[in-house]
């Protein structure tokens, strides 16, 4: 986290929203919540058509060529110099840390660097750029925070989720055992090394299940799918939600 | 081409291949400590060595030999290896009063008396070159008069430390004494407590292969 030097921009009038493929297909409410949160802060949200996947699954599988092809199709979606806001620590990390590496030495290098420099994870952006102030319209609840490893270590956002939750008066943040330990998703790791992944997600799910929280919230849909999916199948009580959906619901008094 | 040249050639070629690189600047500032007074250094030294079972006594240049004899009796030690060719060895011999506890003068190479050294020497006394406050470490450079085995083989090691010879950090000791410039001795040591291990279920046990007790007499 200390390697990450951030210079936050002034609050812009417009941003691009890069939803991520998991949000698009599995958790669209997260995308809607994120867009609405930004719009409520007076920002015009531009959703470029043609967005698909950031390329990370191929990249972490060592297929730089495939990742480059997909990433190249995404690079041109953000032509204007507005911040690109992403509701995922890992996809934001892909754009910010890995696109420059992926395109180094190619004709797209400069474009990739430029895009990377204005990519922000959503909770980080809401807190430090929008300076959001949330009103809690929900009933008292105890919540645990799960920040993805990429969010924590590539984007340096471990503090923003808790800080946003702290703004909600009826939300009590409880901490699970070993909060910084990986949940075992790791993209294709979960299918390449399923037994190890299962051991990790079991520990994580049980930690969230037994820490006294009513539910957990996560910065990343990958982690969410992983932990929730395990908890559901193993019939544990804990369930999770993307933090952005949670924040939108709490601040509008909406149903869960 | 012999192996040495083949390896070196591969490395030189490798560097050409990777294009060589400029390393980042080495900023040693992080090792600096604020100026600690002598009292503070002594206090830090004791605080560092205490938890690892180093035994420290504050005594004086004139009376340490009495304290040592007292400790020898309290610990039930039967003999003491000390070299009277050293100043402190001579001083001790002059003031030695314990008839039942002989001072062992052994100046032969150790392989000539290995069996006795390993099995029948209870304790040894050495001097020291100084100490490091930050880590609670004694600096010893073994000499012909006080070979390595003295601070290594007998189960109890007594060591004299001049209270004016404490450095704040190892870096400071190395720089001030010019270790690199003046050339290193055959063996230079930092000793920071009695020997220990945590290899059995991370449980600390003392007196593994080196001394089981380290007794530091700080001379004011």
């Amino acid at each position: 986290m200390s390697d990450i030097i951030k210079q936050y921009p002034a609050k812009p009038s417009r941003v691009y929203f890069y939803a991520t493929c998991l949000v698009d297909l599995f958790y669209p409410e997260v995308g809607l919540a994120g867009i609405q949160l930004l719009e409520r802060e007076g920002i015009e949200v531009v959703f470029p058509q043609g967005q698909s996947c950031c390329g990370q699954p191929a990249y972490t599988s060592g297929l730089n060529g495939q990742a480059r092809t997909v990433a190249a199709s995404q690079l041109g979606l953000f032509p204007d110099n507005w911040p690109v806001v992403v509701p995922s620590g890992s996809c934001a990390g892909m754009l910010r840390q890995h696109y420059p590496r992926l395109f180094a030495g190619t004709t797209l290098a400069e474009q990739a660097e430029q895009l990377a420099s204005r990519t922000w994870e959503l909770t980080d952006f809401l807190l430090h750029v929008c300076r959001i102030r949330l009103q809690d319209r929900g009933e008292p609840i105890r919540v645990a925070m799960h920040t993805s490893c990429s969010g924590r270590r590539e984007m340096g956002i471990a503090d923003s989720g808790p800080a946003l939750l702290a703004q909600l008066d009826n939300v009590e943040l409880v901490q699970q055992a070993r909060p910084a330990e990986c949940c075992g998703f790791g993209g294709t790791f979960a299918v390449r090394h399923p037994a190890i992944s299962a051991a990790m997600v079991e520990d994580k799910a049980r930690a969230l299940d037994t820490c006294g929280a009513d539910q957990f919230v996560s910065t990343d849909c990958g982690c969410l799918m992983n932990i929730d999916g395990f908890a559901d199948k193993q019939q544990l009580a804990t369930r999770g939600q993307h933090i952005v959906s949670f924040l939108w619901q709490r601040s509008t008094g909406g149903a869960a | 081409m012999n192996t040495r040249d083949a390896i070196l050639q591969r490395l030189y070629q490798g560097r050409e291949q990777q294009g060589g690189f400029e390393p980042p600047v080495s900023d040693f500032g992080v090792l600096q400590r604020p100026h600690w007074s002598k009292a503070e250094k002594l206090e830090r030294f004791a605080r560092a060595m205490g938890p690892v079972h180093g035994e420290i006594h504050n005594t004086s240049r004139n009376t340490w030999h009495q304290l040592l004899q007292q400790l020898m009796q309290e610990k039930g030690l039967r003999n003491l290896w000390v070299n009277s060719d050293t100043r402190h060895g001579r001083l001790l011999a002059d003031h030695w009063q314990l008839e039942q506890i002989p001072l062992l003068q052994r100046t032969q190479p150790i392989n000539e008396w290995k069996d006795e050294l390993f099995n029948r020497v209870d304790a040894a006394l050495t001097g020291s070159r100084g100490a490091i406050a930050e880590t609670g470490s004694l600096i010893l450079w073994p000499t012909p008069a006080e070979p390595r085995a003295m601070s290594l083989v007998p189960p109890v090691h007594f060591v004299l430390l001049d209270s004016n010879r404490l450095y704040s950090t190892l870096h400071e000791a190395m720089q001030q004494e010019g270790w690199a410039d003046k050339g290193m001795p055959t063996n230079a040591l930092l000793i920071s407590g009695p020997s220990k291990t945590a290899d059995i279920e991370q449980t600390l046990a003392y007196g593994v292969h080196g001394p089981r007790e380290l007794v530091v007499l700080i001379l004011e």
């Binding site: 200390s2 698009d24 060592g62 790791f189 997600v201 | 690189f21 992080v30 290995k114 291990t197």
Partner: protein
């Protein structure tokens, strides 16, 4: 038959077994938690980031001048009376050690802890040559009694609890069964004391080899390292060629980082700096001191700027202490000399990606290791690089690592090709996701490895993009 390669190929089944073994899970969880806490405590008073920057700078400076520093090291060691040998492979290094022993009619060797000697499989080689090599470090001694390999590079017997060790010592040497650690330790001390006295040759590793002064630095807590390098008439030190540092002063930050990162100690009981054999008037110390510089694949790693960061390693073990995978499967599951994250980035070079390539995928790239590495090795990046080598996944990069492309499978590539087409053409993406949402109830509930442990994810009724298009329609 290449046993090292065979061993690592069993990674998946061995990991599976380890995961199902409560003793391994519990022993390692407890041990790693303790080590992580101790490390944090030890660095509490430090500007840790600045110290790591210095550690990285010192190691990079040495690596940037590696060939010159090795030549300088050799010159200064020789001027000090230390004999220097070079070995291309581990096998060659073993031969050199054996030849030195034979020239002295040495039949017994006492060993201090050395990971590179494990890499070389030195003990087995010497045994085949009729030379007995006994481990003197308590952890190594214990696993030698058990006939096992170390499961951690700093604490070799970390996978064993007290009861197991007591039983082992009882069976091997007749020590009474006991849960008293002090008693067991005293037993080991008594048994090894005799060996220190009698051994013809002492063999040790090297933590840092200082080029400037021709000095070998060793750190240890037990005193066996000092005994090994003092009592026998001959001392042979073995080291990988990457362990050289430029200046004596460079040792200071590395020492500060090493002991705290490894075991949370501010310093080890002994820091032992050797700069020569016994001088004429000295009463102890070996008459002959040798250093064997071992390449064994390191010069190959040095060909590539990105990959040579692997060579920064000072063998502290912090990476494996913090690794969620290592904590759960333990060190033996890897089947390699070096387990954990450093093992994953190093072993593919030493054994080839065709043998050890699966190690590089056995990580979520969580980055916990890189966060604590005292010399800032970018481990996740190196893992990703090794993955791309194994898959021949980057057409812009030529092959560098042995076994390049050996993990590429045509069926998997077919799937990825499909994935690429799907995601790089918006109209296909739109069509495809439209189909998936419409047919969401037809999604299989069994999805292989995923659904073995988790419920199958189900696409939403309408994707985000569909909903936003509707929203735009409404607004218009």
């Amino acid at each position: 038959m290449n046993t090292a390669a065979d061993a690592v190929k069993q990674f998946t089944p061995r990991a599976r077994t380890a995961l199902d073994t409560p003793a391994i899970r519990n022993n390692f969880r407890k041990a790693m938690d303790g080590l992580m806490d101790k490390r944090l405590d030890a660095f509490a008073d430090w500007d840790l980031e600045a110290l790591r920057e210095l550690g990285a700078a010192v190691r990079l400076r040495a690596l940037s001048r590696l060939p010159e520093l090795l030549e300088l090291l050799e010159r200064n060691l020789q001027a000090n009376g230390i004999q220097v040998h070079w070995a291309q492979t581990g096998e060659q290094a073993c031969e050199i050690v054996r030849d030195i022993c034979n020239a002295r009619n040495a039949r017994t060797v006492i060993k201090g802890k050395s990971m590179v000697s494990e890499e070389m499989e030195l003990n087995a080689f010497l045994a085949r040559s009729g030379i007995e090599a006994l481990e003197s470090d308590l952890g190594e001694y214990i696993i030698q009694l058990a006939g096992e390999a170390p499961s951690h590079i700093i604490m070799p017997a970390i996978h064993k609890n007290t009861a197991e060790i007591s039983e082992l010592m009882h069976q091997a040497t007749g020590t009474e069964r006991s849960s008293d650690v002090d008693y067991l330790t005293a037993s080991a001390r008594a048994q090894l004391r005799e060996k220190f006295m009698q051994a013809d040759v002492g063999i040790s590793g090297v933590n840092f080899a200082v080029a400037e002064t021709g000095t070998l630095c060793l750190v240890e807590n037990e005193g066996n390292g000092r005994l090994t390098t003092t009592v026998p008439s001959c001392h042979i030190a073995v080291t990988g060629i990457e362990k050289v540092v430029e200046h004596l002063a460079d040792v200071t930050p590395l020492l500060a980082l090493l002991t705290r990162s490894a075991t949370g100690q501010h310093i080890t009981t002994y820091v032992n700096m050797i700069s020569g054999p016994r001088k004429v008037d000295e009463k102890d110390g070996p008459e002959a001191v040798h250093l064997v510089l071992v390449d064994a694949g390191r010069s190959a790693i040095y060909q590539d700027r990105e990959l040579l960061d692997t060579l920064r390693c000072i063998r502290c073990g912090a990476c494996m202490n913090h690794c969620p995978v290592y904590t759960r499967i333990g060190g033996h599951a890897y089947g390699t000399t070096y387990p954990g994250p450093i093992g994953k980035i190093l072993m593919p070079h030493l054994l080839g990606l065709d043998n050890a390539g699966s190690l590089a995928t056995a990580s979520t790239l969580c980055g916990a290791c890189a966060e604590v590495c005292p010399v800032k090795i970018p481990i996740p990046q190196l893992l990703q690089r090794l993955r791309s080598e194994a898959m021949d996944g980057d057409p812009q990069r030529s092959a560098t690592v042995a076994g390049h492309g050996s993990k590429r499978r045509w069926l998997e590539m077919l799937l990825w090709h499909g994935w690429t087409v799907f995601n790089s053409r918006p109209w296909i993406y739109r069509l495809g996701t439209g189909l998936m949402t419409r047919c969401r109830h037809l999604m299989p509930s069994r999805l292989g490895a995923w659904t073995r442990y988790r419920s199958a994810p189900r696409p939403a009724a309408h994707s985000l993009q569909q909903q936003l298009r509707q929203r735009q329609h409404k607004e218009q």
